[in-house]
C-alpha cells in the first residue's frame, strides 16, 4: 500500500551516486519525501514540520553530503530523530504505594476502552495481581454488560449498577467495593466522549476527582488521523492523563498518531493492543514504533515472539536432524505447530522488514486455513507413515485424503514438497558443516 521511506529516498538519491556531492536541492527533495511519508503515516502536521526541520539540519551535515550511500544515512537520521521523539525506553504503568492501584480509562467513542480495560485486567491478573473492573459507561447501551461478559470470561469481578445514571457515584462505590474485597488493582471503564462535549468531559473530571486514580490512561485508536493532537490536548487539559494505550495496532495503520501525541504531550505509551483476543495486549517499545511508522517492519517483536514460544533444546535437536536429512513428517508437524503458536502467519510475515514491499502488487495472501489443511493431512497419517513417508502408497494416499477432508492431489503435493525439502536440507548439512553421523530413517 505504502512505499517505505527507504524506497522513496532510494529513488530520490538514485542517479546521484558517484556524483560525489549532494546539493541543497537534493536534500530538499529528500525532505519532501520524508514529509510525505510521515503525513501518510498520520503524523500530525506540526510534528512533521518539527521533525523535518531537525532532520534537514542534520542531513545537511557532512556525514550525508559526502556519503556514498546518502539514502541510508538519511534513513538512519530519520530513525534516530523519530526514536528520540518517541522516548527511549519502555515505561511501566505506575503502581500505587498503597493498594489499590486505580487506573482510569478515558478516550473517544469506539477507541476500544472497554475491550482494553478487560485486556489490562487480564495482563495484571497474569502477573499475580487481583484486579477488579468498574463499569462507569452509563451512556452506551449494554456497555456494562460487555464488561461483565469479559470479566466473567476471565474470572475477574465487575462492579456495575444497572439503571444508575450517576457515573461518579458508581465509581466511588466501585472503589469501595474493591477495597472491601481486597482487590489491589481497580480499572475504571468510562464512557467514550467527543472532546467538544463539555458535559461529558465534566463527568470524566468528576469521576477522576472521586476515585483519585494512580494513573489516567488515554485509550487511542492507532488509526486516528490529524485530529490526534487536538484529542490528546483536550484530554490533557481536562484530566491530565499519565499515559496512553494504543489500540487496533494489528491492522495496517502506521500509527503516526502515537508519535504526535507523544511529541505534543510528552506522555508515554504503556501498552499496544494487537488483536481481537483478550490476551492481545503487549508492552510498548518506542524504537519499534519508529520502524513501523516508516513502514520498515518489526523484526524485534518477531524474534521476541519466537523466543516466547519455541523450546530451545528441542530446536537444537531438530536442527541436527534436519541437517542430517533425517527430518520426518512428525518433526515437520511440530515445527508447523510451533510457528503457528506465534500468531497468524500473515501477521508474522508483516513483521519481516521489506516483506510488504516485496509482495506489493502480488496477491500473496497467506491463509492460515491452508496450514490447517497441511496439519490435517499429516494428522491423518499413522505414526509409522509420518516417520517413513516413502511407504505411503496409492491406497494409503486415498485413505489420508479421505481422513483429512482433502484430495489425493493435495496429499501428493505435500509429500513431493516434503521430499524435496528434505533433499535440500541434506545438501545444506553436507555443505558448510562438518560431516554428521548417518541419520536414522533415510
Amino acid at each position: 500500500m505504502f512505499d517505505t521511506l527507504s524506497d522513496k529516498l532510494q529513488s530520490v538519491f538514485s542517479g546521484l551516486r558517484g556524483r560525489g556531492k549532494l546539493t541543497d536541492a537534493d536534500i530538499d527533495q529528500a525532505m519532501r519525501a520524508i514529509r510525505l511519508s510521515l503525513l501518510e503515516a498520520d503524523v500530525s502536521l506540526p510534528v512533521v514540520k518539527q521533525l523535518t526541520g531537525a532532520i534537514g539540519e542534520r542531513a545537511r551535515g557532512a556525514e550525508v553530503m559526502t556519503s556514498l550511500t546518502p539514502d541510508q544515512q538519511v534513513v538512519k537520521i530519520v530513525n534516530e530523530e523519530l526514536a528520540k521523539l518517541m522516548g527511549g525506553a519502555s515505561v511501566n504503568m505506575p503502581v500505587a504505594p498503597r493498594p489499590p492501584t486505580v487506573i482510569l480509562m478515558a478516550g473517544l467513542q469506539g477507541s476500544g476502552k472497554t475491550t482494553c480495560s478487560a485486556k489490562l485486567a487480564r495482563y495484571y491478573q497474569q502477573q499475580g495481581r487481583a484486579p477488579m473492573l468498574v463499569a462507569c459507561d452509563v451512556h452506551r447501551p449494554a456497555a456494562a454488560e460487555q464488561l461483565s461478559v469479559l470479566g466473567g470470561q476471565l474470572g475477574i469481578p465487575v462492579h456495575r449498577e444497572d439503571g444508575v445514571a450517576d457515573a461518579v457515584g458508581i465509581a466511588e462505590r466501585g472503589i469501595a467495593a474493591a477495597k472491601a474485597a481486597v482487590r489491589d488493582l481497580v480499572i475504571v471503564d468510562t464512557a467514550g466522549r467527543t472532546v467538544i462535549d463539555e458535559a461529558m468531559m465534566a463527568e470524566l473530571v468528576g469521576v477522576r476527582d472521586a476515585v483519585h486514580p494512580t494513573a489516567v490512561v488515554l485509550v487511542l485508536d492507532s488509526m486516528t488521523g490529524q485530529t490526534a493532537v487536538e484529542v490528546a490536548q483536550a484530554f490533557e487539559d481536562a484530566v491530565q492523563f499519565d499515559g496512553v494505550i494504543l489500540t487496533k495496532l494489528d491492522g495496517d495503520a502506521r500509527g503516526g498518531a502515537a508519535l504526535s501525541v507523544r511529541a505534543v504531550t510528552g506522555r508515554p505509551i504503556y501498552f499496544v493492543g494487537t488483536g481481537e483476543k483478550i490476551d492481545a495486549l503487549e508492552p510498548f517499545h518506542p524504537d519499534r514504533m519508529a520502524s513501523r511508522i516508516l513502514g520498515m517492519g518489526d523484526v524485534l517483536s518477531l524474534i521476541e515472539r519466537a523466543q516466547q514460544t519455541v523450546d530451545v533444546d528441542q530446536a537444537k535437536d531438530l536442527e541436527k536432524k534436519i541437517l542430517g536429512g533425517g527430518m520426518t513428517l512428525e518433526d515437520f508437524l511440530d515445527q508447523l505447530r510451533q510457528i503457528r503458536k506465534m500468531g497468524p502467519i500473515g501477521q508474522l510475515l508483516g513483521m519481516v522488514p521489506g516483506f510488504k514491499t516485496a509482495m506489493k502488487g502480488r496477491d500473496l495472501q497467506v491463509d492460515d486455513r491452508q496450514l490447517d489443511r497441511l496439519e490435517a493431512i499429516i494428522s491423518s497419517m499413522t505414526p509409522s507413515e509420518r516417520r517413513r513417508p516413502d511407504t505411503i502408497n496409492g491406497s494409503r494416499r486415498q485413505r489420508i485424503a479421505r481422513g483429512s477432508g482433502t484430495s489425493v492431489q493435495e496429499v501428493n503435493q505435500l509429500l513431493a514438497q516434503f521430499k524435496q525439502m528434505r533433499k535440500m536440507m541434506k545438501r545444506f548439512g553436507k555443505g558448510g558443516m562438518p560431516p554428521m553421523p548417518p541419520a536414522l530413517g533415510t
Partner: protein, 336 residues
C-alpha cells in the same frame, strides 16, 4: 430545537419514501432544513479555525495562501493527493481570474469539494420489499449505533424494520442492539453469542420477507480490513444475504470514524474488495474530527458519502450534504 416534521421530510427524501399528507410544501421545508442542518454542523465551532482565519481574510492571494490552504486540508485528513488536487483546482481558478481575493477561497473550495463529492443529494431508496441494508466497518467505528439510529428513523416513517444482529463476536453487541430495537419498535433477529453471522443474516432476511417487513438492517461485527479470515467471513455474509433474497443486499454501507486518518483509504479499498460497497457513513464528525479522509476515499474510489453522524443524539445522524460538509472542514474545532 429539533423539529420532527422537518426531519421526517428530509429522511423521507433520502429513503425515497412517500411522505404522509401534511407535507405539501416539502420542497420549501427541505430548503429550510438544509440551511438549519448546516447551522447544526457549524454550530459548535462558529468561527473559522484560527489557522485559516488568515487564509480567508480579505487580501491578495500569495504563495503562502496556497501553502496554508494545503496544510489546512492535510490537517483535516484529506491526505496529500486530494489536498494537492483541490489546491491546484483553486489555483487554476485564481489564474483564470475567477478567484481574486482571499475571501473568495472558502466559497471556491466548498464548490470544488461539492462538485467532487456529490452534486446530487444522496439516496438510499427503500424500494424492494424488503430492502436489505448491510452495515460493515472496522471495530469501534459506530456500526451498531448507526444501525439503531437508522432503525429509529425508518420506523418513524412508518416502515416496518427488522434488524439482524450479525455481530455475534463482540461481548454484549447483541444486547446493545436489542436496546436500540426496543426503542425504535423494530424487530430483532438474533442468535446466541458466537453464532454463525451468515446464519443470523440469512434468518433476518428470510424472517423479514415472511413478516412483510419493508427494511432489513444487518449489523456486522467490527473487523480490521487486514484480517483475511474475518474479511472472508464478511464475504460469506454478503453472499448468504444474496441467497435469501434476490438482489440483496441493496445497500452495503461502510461506517467510517471521522477521526480516522489515511488508514481510511485502506479500509475502503479492502472492504470494497471483499463486498461491493454502495456508500460510506461518516460517524463522529463532531468538529474536532473533520473526516477529510472521506474526500480522499471519494476521490480515489468514487464512493459517495450517504450519511454523517455529527454527535451522539438520535437526530445527529443526518443525510450527507456536501456543501455543508465542505464548510465544516474549515471551521475551528474549539468549543464555544
Amino acid at each position: 430545537m429539533s423539529d420532527a416534521g422537518d426531519d421526517r421530510a428530509l429522511w423521507a427524501e433520502l429513503f425515497d419514501i412517500a411522505v404522509p399528507p401534511a407535507e405539501a410544501e416539502r420542497e420549501t421545508r427541505r430548503r429550510g432544513l438544509f440551511s438549519r442542518f448546516k447551522e447544526s454542523l457549524t454550530k459548535p465551532r462558529q468561527a473559522i479555525s484560527p489557522q485559516l482565519a488568515g487564509v480567508f481574510a480579505p487580501g491578495l492571494i500569495t504563495r503562502e495562501t496556497w501553502d496554508e490552504l494545503e496544510e489546512a486540508l492535510i490537517g483535516a485528513d484529506c491526505g496529500m493527493d486530494a489536498s494537492l488536487a483541490l489546491v491546484d483546482a483553486l489555483r487554476d481558478a485564481a489564474q483564470q481570474g475567477r478567484i481574486v481575493n482571499r475571501s473568495e477561497i472558502a466559497a471556491g473550495l466548498a464548490n470544488a469539494v461539492t462538485l467532487q463529492m456529490t452534486p446530487e443529494p444522496p439516496r438510499i431508496p427503500i424500494g424492494a420489499k424488503p430492502t436489505v441494508i448491510l452495515v460493515v466497518g472496522v471495530n469501534g467505528s459506530g456500526k451498531t449505533t448507526t444501525v439503531g439510529k437508522l432503525a429509529h428513523r425508518l420506523s418513524e416513517l412508518g416502515q416496518q424494520v427488522v434488524i439482524g444482529a450479525a455481530d455475534t463476536f463482540r461481548a454484549a453487541a447483541i444486547d446493545q442492539l436489542a436496546i436500540w430495537a426496543d426503542r425504535s419498535g423494530a424487530q430483532l433477529v438474533r442468535q446466541g453469542p458466537g453464532a454463525d453471522p451468515g446464519a443470523v443474516a440469512f434468518d433476518a432476511v428470510v424472517s423479514g420477507s415472511a413478516r412483510g417487513a419493508d427494511v432489513v438492517l444487518i449489523d456486522t461485527a467490527g473487523r480490521l480490513q487486514t484480517q483475511h479470515n474475518l474479511m472472508e467471513e464478511l464475504r460469506k455474509v454478503h453472499a448468504v444475504v444474496g441467497k435469501a433474497a434476490a438482489d440483496a443486499p441493496h445497500e452495503t454501507l461502510l461506517v467510517l470514524d471521522a477521526t480516522t486518518g489515511q488508514n481510511g483509504l485502506s479500509q475502503a479499498r479492502l472492504f470494497g474488495e471483499a463486498v461491493p460497497l454502495t456508500g460510506v457513513i461518516v460517524t463522529k464528525l463532531d468538529g474536532s474530527a473533520k473526516g477529510g479522509i472521506a474526500v480522499a476515499i471519494n476521490r480515489e474510489l468514487g464512493l459517495p458519502v450517504k450519511l454523517i453522524g455529527v454527535g451522539e443524539k438520535l437526530e445527529d445522524l443526518q443525510p450527507f450534504d456536501a456543501a455543508a460538509y465542505a464548510q465544516a472542514i474549515f471551521a475551528s474545532g474549539d468549543a464555544g
